[in-house]
Symmetry: C2
Subunit: 323 residues, 2 copies
């Protein structure tokens, strides 16, 4: 018959080209995945991206001032430009979550939540990382009711109000700076006596009169009526607790990689990060990884982009060598 | 006396702040060096760039269409934007050549042709790579008189004329494509029967009616009166030679790293490339490297930029750990 199995699957799964074999499936649509796509298609590879959020975490960055070529650009704008570039090259970006991967019959099979299974000859994992939870009472209850993991997304809701930022790294100080131009007061709460952030950010924070540093204080509870009204912190040395009245709590204590679906498929480190070599190769032949989800310790947009390009060129070399 | 030794040196050497100790001296002003500078200064490090050409080889690229964030941008424009970004952050770019480096009294000392010696606690080598010479008769004689290593710089001189491009990799096909929109005819000469370039470029070349592919032909001489008038090629199989009338010859056969001054200081590979690990560390503590001059095989602007950021963050970690 003229009907191929591919056509059947296409009909059965409502539009997803499941029977097609891609050269490369790229999991993740942040800077690493988008750049990998640019390099795949320019190398003549048939590629598709599956990702939950176009732009990934970078899309949530207020202002990116260290991406070479732009003195200052909103994360959302930068990643939108990258996504447009990718789509103009003819690469589809499927908005879906990958729930499983396996190698079978010489192909990689990528199972998604809604779009069925995608098959490919090489795989690029650019799954990024997600905000880490603080784990205090009230955090889950008040999520979206004053508790936020994204200053840029939710900051404008707190214009003229008092907010807290929890954390001491670059993302926490970035968030505090962003919020300080919107909120009345920003309490910057950090367990240690010193910030881990780079000096440039610490200096900037010192220069903002409405950022109040609460060092050596550990958050213990977030509370309120229906919306957040306060955060309780405990002095790490004295154990004394105090309630600080705030309408918003921004939690910026690092990121976690959602790589459980990769366990046993490629080597992960103790933090769930994908182990890669210098050319973005994982422990499994034909599988490459790039960006914040990998063991490269520096989580920066330009580094993720560079690694994405490397992963694509390594995938190209791998596929070429197999003929 | 109030006169410091620093001031004395400053006067003696005509403006160069030789006695000052930088946290980081960055050698090279291409995308890797410029990005390293952005990350150094944002990390609170006192840095200076020494380089011969601002923008490096990337500045000579006609159109860069694979740098994420710009669908299409002239290499010169992209690198100018990066250099402006660096200078706005307060980093000086010294236009000079580095002729020697050594480690002495716990410092790195960087000797330049004209600006004396720069001293630093960490060193980033982003020296890039330069066009490789073909080595045929007439090449040196007619350099700048029709022989060129930069299609973008010199292409416009050959508007409506016949030119040759020698090479079979990405840069050769890039050059042929660029020239085909200016020149009457572009002869694309390659020793092998197949191009090494990526498929996207080969397809593009196939689509240009005024690019004539001469495969399996080896250039043997470039000649003319005062300016280039012809290139002689030899058929690799038959040995038959023919003269092709051209006004320009663009040589695009790869790049060489000018790393002789680093021999014995850091490990180099057989091509003179600086051996680096995943975090851009060289074989010598406190010395980092990034970009086209390193053993990372993919020579791309976004990769060089990403590696530059890594080198700077590794330098920051190194300096922080030393206190």
């Amino acid at each position: 018959m003229g009907f191929s199995k591919g056509l059947f699957l296409r009909l059965a799964r409502g539009g997803v080209v499941a029977a097609e074999v891609y050269d490369v499936v790229i999991v993740g649509a942040g800077p690493a995945g988008l750049t990998a796509a640019i390099y795949c298609v320019r190398s003549g590879l048939k590629a598709i991206i599956v990702g939950k959020v176009v732009g990934g975490q970078a899309a949530e960055a207020s202002l990116i001032e260290n991406y070479p070529g732009f003195k200052s650009i909103a994360g959302f704008e930068l990643t939108s430009r990258m996504a447009e570039q990718v789509e103009e090259l003819g690469v589809s970006i499927v908005g879906d979550e990958v729930v499983g991967v396996k190698e079978e019959d010489g192909l990689f099979k990528v199972r998604t939540s809604w779009s069925g299974e995608l098959r490919c000859r090489a795989l690029i994992l650019a799954i990024g990382a997600e905000p880490r939870r603080l784990g205090v009472k009230g955090e889950e209850e008040f999520r979206g009711k004053g508790v936020s993991y994204c200053a840029v997304c939710d900051g404008p809701l707190f214009r003229g109000k008092r907010v807290a930022v929890v954390g001491g790294g670059n993302s926490a100080l970035d968030a505090a700076l962003y919020l300080s131009s919107l909120a009345e007061v920003v309490y910057l709460i950090h367990r240690r006596r010193q910030f881990r952030a780079v000096k440039a950010l610490v200096d900037k924070v010192d220069g903002r009169s409405n950022i109040v540093k609460l060092l050596g204080k550990s958050p213990v509870e977030i509370g309120g009526d229906r919306l957040v009204e306060w955060i309780k912190v405990r002095d790490v040395e004295t154990g004394v607790e105090e309630k600080i009245e705030v309408k918003g709590v921004f939690i910026e204590i690092g990121r976690a990689v959602n790589s459980d679906f990769l366990r046993g498929f490629v080597d992960l480190d103790e933090y769930g990060q994908i182990v890669v070599d210098q050319l973005c190769r994982t422990s499994r032949r034909g599988v490459f990884a790039a960006g914040d989800a990998t063991t490269i310790p520096y989580k920066q947009v330009v580094i993720a982009a560079g690694e994405g390009a490397k992963a694509a060129l390594s995938a190209y070399e791998y596929l070429s060598s197999r003929g």
